[in-house]
């Protein structure tokens, strides 16, 4: 009885699903954005270690500091990194005095002695303030676009670090035939919808002056700021990998000893007769 019922129900589902497969359907219109869209370029990162495998490797402190400089001088005009606190900059190799000085360049909201809203200089305990008070203010100032907070950007996009690098270096004036690009937008095949509201932020070599003698090129700026944003998204990356190597070494030894005791326990069962 159960099997007869099952047969009937089974036939119902099978016929239904197969019917769906044979019913002709409208041809999907080819999505040009999908054809133009490019996957991120591949770059070797210091924090990915040998072979770019991501097992060893630490952040290049110099690169993070340069990336922070690029962020501060270029990106921060529109984009916040509101999940990062000034005190976190110690990870980049800044001293306490330097961090205090950096924080003091920013104003954060406060309440004065009379209870009135005011602002004060930021301290190391504060987070990097928002650039715009809210989304409406951002859109009003940015021609309708809303510059996202960058704290988590490299984790919020597939292959994020490479994505940020590719996006920053991927602008092109060669708009393909048949692709509609409004004048207020820019062509960038690494962006998911191809037309991006952000003007090329890194426009020319020499735009940022590095103190450490690293090449002042757009390519270098893009790499440095991508590395910096990898740190803002995953500040515990080094700690994580260090712990991982220790944990796995421990587990390998533990499992090896466990295997030896397994062999010993089972010796009388598995020995050839």
């Amino acid at each position: 009885m159960i099997r007869l019922g099952a047969l009937a129900v089974g036939l119902l589902f099978v016929l239904n699903a197969l019917w769906g497969a044979v019913v002709p359907r409208e041809e999907a219109t080819p999505d040009m954005a999908k054809q133009l869209h490019k996957h991120p370029k591949h770059v070797e990162w210091a924090h990915n270690g040998p072979g770019n495998l991501g097992i060893f490797g630490t952040f290049d402190r110099g690169q993070l500091q340069r990336g922070f400089q690029v962020y501060k001088e270029v990106c921060s005009a529109c984009h916040s990194i509101n999940r990062v606190a000034f005190r976190d900059l110690a990870d980049l190799g800044f001293s306490e005095a330097q961090i205090k000085a950096i924080a003091a360049e920013y104003e954060v909201a406060a309440i004065d002695a009379n209870g009135e809203p005011t602002t004060r200089k930021a301290t190391p305990a504060d987070k990097f303030p928002l650039v715009y008070a809210n989304e409406a203010a951002a859109r009003a100032a940015q021609n309708g676009a809303n510059p996202p907070d960058l704290s988590l950007m490299t984790k919020a996009r597939p292959d994020g670090t490479n994505y940020v690098y590719s996006l920053l270096t991927g602008y092109s004036d060669d708009v393909p035939q048949g692709w509609a690009k409004p004048d207020t937008l820019y062509y960038n095949p690494y962006f998911h919808s191809i037309n991006i509201a952000m003007p090329p932020p890194l426009a020319a070599d020499g735009q940022v002056t590095y103190a450490d003698g690293s090449p002042a090129t757009v390519d270098q700026y893009a790499k440095d700021v991508s590395a910096f944003l990898t740190w803002t998204a995953e500040p515990k990356l080094e700690n994580r990998k260090e712990t991982g190597v220790a944990a796995i070494l421990f587990l390998i030894i533990m499992t090896g000893l466990g295997y030896l005791s397994y062999r010993k326990v089972w010796a009388d069962i598995k020995k050839p007769a």
């Binding site: 159960i2 099997r3 099952a6 047969l7 129900v9 089974g10 036939l11 589902f13 099978v14 239904n16 699903a17 197969l18 019917w19 769906g20 497969a21 019913v23 359907r25 999907a28 991501g54 097992i55 999940r83 976190d88 996202p148 704290s151 988590l152 984790k155 919020a156 996009r157 597939p158 994020g160 998911h192 998204a233 500040p235 515990k236 700690n239 994580r240 990998k241 712990t243 991982g244 190597v245 944990a247 796995i248 587990l251 390998i252 533990m254 499992t255 466990g258 295997y259 005791s261 397994y262 326990v265 089972w266 069962i269 598995k270 020995k271 050839p272 007769a273």
Partner: protein
């Protein structure tokens, strides 16, 4: 409850004696996992995954309890509190990655555990209750994992909650009311987040309770084994401790190594980047996809694209998705072959592997956007999924000529190890 030759618990100390007379907990453990539980001596590595699933649940509960100390179930700050855990809580990144990766691994080991049961016929008499309780655990896991994913309150959390509760709106007449009732509003909001947090904290303990029943039911007939034949004498078994405690420990070590590789070196590889974008009810992600462990069922849900017999396509999809799991409850009565193990069922064994491939391909389809060729492929695969359990298996189990079974488990083991460890066949074909 056990075989007559099971070792009996004998307290070795005065304290043990005192305890045994008042609360025989050590006796209970001795009989459940210790030397008092005779276990077939031919269990292979796949029989390790039940224990691994138990460990995975314990890891989820421990890390989850700690996360709940720092997490705030409020739409205004839920996402921020998760980032607070990642950045400011000591070791918080590790706890959270263990919990997120742990969910994937829990499903991974449970899927292997289920497929092991399918291959060796562990759902057959007298183990039907174990099988059905296992399915109850699986359903509870799915609900728990879904609600946990929503707690992050990222883009996929929000839109996942919208889509999954929206399934119920496909039901006629009462559908929309049910969705509103589940969400506590007309769209996912604070009420949703709060109830999901409450249930996400509750359900793992319900799962734990059902696991106790699952293991209790297991201890009545004892474990199945790769030959699928019953234990006949003491020569067929070894005491669970030290034999399987030693073996399971090795499996656990290997499991933890793989788990650690993901937690520490690629913690986000199993998740969707979109969930690192805070939930935004005004912006729909381009592709709403669940986590990988739901992909096969998501493919079945989307495989029904035409109205059929006056029932709308969307409702068919929802019915089929639930049916695809619920039909497994009937499996012990659909597959009527008296032979359990597929090692001795030549036809069924091929069908098993075909089904594995179909299930994996359904998973691939479920992870892709709803466009060709994936939709048509998932329709054919879905048809096969239902045909496998409801049509093919019942017929094959009637018609199939099975191979001769070994006389006993120890005979099968001797055939394997007896002749100087040579690869002697486990059994001879019937003809």
């Amino acid at each position: 409850m056990s075989f007559p030759w099971a070792k009996e618990y004998k307290p070795t100390s005065a304290v043990g004696q005192w305890m045994d007379e008042r609360l025989p907990l050590p006796r209970f453990i001795f009989n459940a996992l210790g030397p008092g539980y005779p276990t077939p001596k031919n269990l292979n590595a796949f029989y390790n995954f039940g224990v691994l699933a138990g460990v995975a649940l314990v890891i989820q509960i421990i890390t989850g309890v700690v996360l709940a100390m720092h997490y705030a179930p409020n739409v205004a700050i839920a996402f921020d509190s998760v980032e607070h855990i990642m950045r400011d809580v000591n070791g918080g990144w590790m706890i959270r990655y263990m919990h997120a990766v742990g969910a994937s691994f829990f499903f991974g080991v449970v899927y292997i555990h289920i497929f092991r049961g399918l291959y060796y016929g562990s759902y057959k008499p007298p183990r039907e209750m174990i099988w059905m309780l296992g399915l109850v655990i699986f359903l509870l896991m799915m609900a728990t994992a879904f609600m946990g994913y929503v707690l992050v309150w990222g883009q996929m959390s929000f839109w996942g909650a919208q889509v999954i509760t929206g399934l119920f709106s496909a039901l006629p007449v009462v559908g929309t009311s049910i969705q509103t009732w589940l969400l506590g509003g007309f769209s996912p909001d604070n009420a949703t987040l709060n109830r999901f947090f409450s249930l996400h904290y509750l359900l793992p303990f319900v799962i734990f309770g059902v696991i106790v029943l699952h293991v209790w039911a297991l201890h009545i007939p004892g474990s199945n084994n790769p030959t699928g034949i019953d234990v006949k004498s003491e020569a067929d078994t070894v005491p669970f401790h030290p034999y399987y405690t030693a073996k399971d420990f090795v499996g656990l070590g290997i499991y933890l190594i793989v788990f650690s590789a993901f937690v520490f070196f690629m913690p986000n590889s199993l998740g969707e980047p979109d969930n690192y974008i805070p939930a935004n009810p005004l912006s729909t992600p381009a592709h709403i996809v669940p986590e990988w462990y739901f992909w096969p069922f998501y493919a079945i849900l989307r495989a029904f694209t035409t109205d059929f017999l006056g029932v709308p396509a969307k409702l068919w999809g929802v019915i089929a998705m639930f049916a695809s799991i619920l039909l497994l409850f009937l499996l012990p009565w659909l597959d009527t072959s008296p032979v359990r193990s597929n090692n001795y069922r030549p036809l069924s064994r091929i069908l098993f592997w075909v089904f594995v491939v179909v299930a994996l391909l359904l998973g691939v389809c479920g992870g892709k956007p709803a466009e060709e060729p994936w939709v048509r492929l998932s329709q054919v695969l879905t048809a096969y999924y239902f045909a496998h359990f409801l049509i093919i298996l019942p017929i094959v189990s009637k018609l199939e000529k099975t191979k001769a079974l070994p006389g006993s488990i120890s005979e099968a083991v001797l055939a394997k190890y007896g002749k100087g460890g040579g690869a002697a066949p486990v059994a001879q074909p019937a003809e």
